[in-house]
């Protein structure tokens, strides 16, 4: 409602806003509670023995069965290590491949530059559902089935597209004087890449790291078809397998789920601001 008296407008408006904030907080709090309630149950059940579970599933009761965690870790631990290897290698690969290409696209002109760039960018429109089957046959023919390379190399190829796009735009916006100065000091292409372009692109590189991290860590369908050896399973497919093993042994099962969500959660707690930025940038690529 429009306020008739201009003099009182400000204080009145503040009061209205504050009252409205109550509705906002109510909505947001209910949404947050509903979002996290399943995870609360997950947390509670992970400490229960089976009789405790059948007695009450809603709140913690004593004694807490920490042995669920040691039991689960024996299975889930190796999945975490595999996921960590694949994710680290993929991130390093994406950073290297995409920053080099983006640097060339952004700072040098050469024949077919725009054509090559379009060739890369067009792939943003290609869904994984189209390429999944032929990519599987390719990986099989390359002998990378049932090996972590079969996850890492296609992973780099998939993630480099968006990374090159982001990095090229950013590097192209860097002031030419910096590169000119480096050239004056006798720096060649490698040194202006390593000492000028890369350090300045750190904010965008962090976006690339975060989108690659989440994508690789959470990838499910591709590892499911490439990996069949239990010792090579990554977390998502490992958990699916773990579930069929433990069926109704809910305590260790839920403890396994908790263990496998911890690594990223811990990273997130430290750099949540970067995550928010990286995820947002990743979403608006279309």
């Amino acid at each position: 409602m429009a306020k008739p008296k201009p003099k009182h407008r400000r204080p009145e408006l503040m009061a209205v806003l504050r009252k409205e904030d109550r509705v906002k907080h109510a909505y947001l709090l209910i949404a947050a509670l509903l979002t996290f309630f399943p995870f609360w149950l997950l947390f509670v059940v992970s400490f229960k023995s089976l009789p405790q579970f059948y007695h009450n599933v809603w709140i913690l009761d004593y004694p807490l069965h920490f042995e669920n965690y040691s039991l689960a870790f024996r299975v889930v631990g190796k999945y975490i290590i595999n996921s960590a290897i694949v994710t680290a290698a993929t991130i390093v690969g994406v950073l290297f491949v995409s920053s080099l290409a983006a640097f060339a696209f952004a700072r040098y002109s050469f024949p077919a530059r725009n054509f090559l760039f379009m060739l890369i960018i067009s792939l943003l429109m290609v869904p994984s559902v189209l390429t999944m089957v032929p990519a599987f046959v390719l990986v099989k023919n390359l002998g990378m089935l049932n090996s972590l390379w079969g996850l890492i190399l296609p992973g780099i190829a998939g993630l480099q597209v968006f990374a090159i796009y982001l990095l090229r735009n950013f590097m192209a916006s860097l002031p030419e004087e910096l590169f000119e100065a480096a050239r004056m000091d006798g720096a060649g292409i490698w040194r202006s890449y390593w000492h000028v372009a890369l350090p300045l692109s750190r904010p965008v590189l962090s976006i690339v790291v975060i989108t690659s991290l989440l994508n690789t860590w959470n990838d499910f369908i591709w590892p499911l078809i490439v990996i069949s050896d239990d010792d090579l399973r990554t977390i998502p497919i490992g958990l699916a397998f773990f579930r069929t093993q433990y069926q109704t042994d809910y305590g260790p099962l839920m403890a396994g789920y908790i263990i496998s969500l911890l690594p990223l959660l811990i990273v997130f707690l430290f750099i949540s601001r970067e995550f928010v930025r990286g995820l947002t940038a990743g979403a608006i690529k279309m």
Binding site: P127, L130, G158, G188
Partner: protein
């Protein structure tokens, strides 16, 4: 003599320029190798093999037989129906609840509360969605699941269902879990959609809003005439992102129901997976992929043309 000298210099310069281009091309080599081997080869292979009977090793040309068979596939009807249910539910939820939440968060007076809510609603995105899906499987469990146990304890045993095993309700039970990947599931607020809306709201210049406040605009008027029109781009992004994700999603389904019971939760992605990796019909699976790709392209193009607005951001 002088003339000759000039020509010699320019020749040397040209050679030097050609040489200096060499490292530039070298920078592109790794990216292009990955591009050709793991992206473009499978891309063209999919189109090529969609015209073949192919088990991954041997291929026989069959023309458009795969596409004709597709039209008569038993799974086509259920797949279309289910993908329609999942996508409409996904779109409906993506355009309502997180939008309300984003506007609420954005207009909170306390800066700190805004940060806290954004933090809280981003957190589910770093929880592997496989865990989320498996937790939902546990919630839905017919005997041990908290949902049925709650219904019994609360005195409503008549509402107890085998949520994921009942062909009449399994697909609706799945709409609450979401497609996986974008972190969108019940209550549909936390996830990428929210972050996209928030980034749009943050881009609205504060002068516009201050002017509106001075004019005495109510928060509803503010939402209706300023915020909503100015985040059209973000709404379009969420719309397209949700449709594209839902159309190809079968992550949840392969984990929980594998298309069953019967074909009651079958979706195109699941059918493709079955053909490729259970029946070794890779050519047929490629044809399914080609059709899905065509549908996605059409939807993206329509969405981008119809819903383009003056607030679209220009990538360059």
């Amino acid at each position: 003599m002088k003339h000759f000298h000039v020509r010699q210099v320019s020749a040397r310069r040209r050679r030097r320029r050609a040489l200096s281009k060499f490292p530039v091309y070298l920078c592109l080599v790794p990216a292009l190798v990955f591009l050709v081997v793991f992206s473009y080869y499978p891309f063209f292979s999919a189109f090529y093999h969609s015209l073949f009977k192919w088990d991954g090793v041997n291929s026989t040309f069959v023309g458009i037989k795969n596409f004709v068979d597709l039209a008569g596939d038993d799974r086509l009807g259920p797949s279309v129906k289910n993908i329609f249910i999942l996508t409409s539910a996904g779109v409906f939820f993506a355009l309502t609840l997180p939008l309300i939440a984003a506007v609420f968060i954005h207009n909170l007076k306390s800066e700190r509360m805004r940060t806290i809510y954004r933090f809280v609603f981003t957190m589910p995105l770093v929880i592997p969605w496989v865990v989320t899906v498996l937790v939902w499987q546990f919630l839905y469990d017919p005997l041990d699941g908290p949902i049925n146990r709650f219904l019994i304890a609360a005195g409503y045993p008549e509402f107890v269902r085998a949520w994921l095993a009942d062909p009449d309700i399994a697909i609706f039970a799945l709409t609450l879990i979401g497609g996986g990947g974008t972190g969108v599931g019940f209550p549909f607020v936390a996830g990428l959609n929210l972050l996209v809306y928030l980034s749009g709201l943050n881009n609205i210049s504060s002068e516009v809003k201050e002017a509106a406040i001075l004019e005495g605009a109510t928060s509803w008027q503010m939402f209706r005439s300023i915020e909503l029109p100015l985040i059209r781009t973000q709404i379009r992004i969420n719309l397209v992102m949700t449709i594209i994700t839902q159309l190809q999603a079968f992550h949840t389904i392969i984990l929980l129901t594998r298309g069953g019971p019967g074909y009651s939760t079958m979706v195109p992605g699941m059918a493709m997976y079955q053909d490729a990796f259970e029946f070794s019909r890779m050519g047929y699976a490629s044809a399914i992929g080609v059709v899905l790709f065509a549908i996605m392209m059409v939807i993206t193009l329509i969405a981008n043309n119809r819903l383009r607005s003056s607030t679209d951001f220009d990538p360059n």
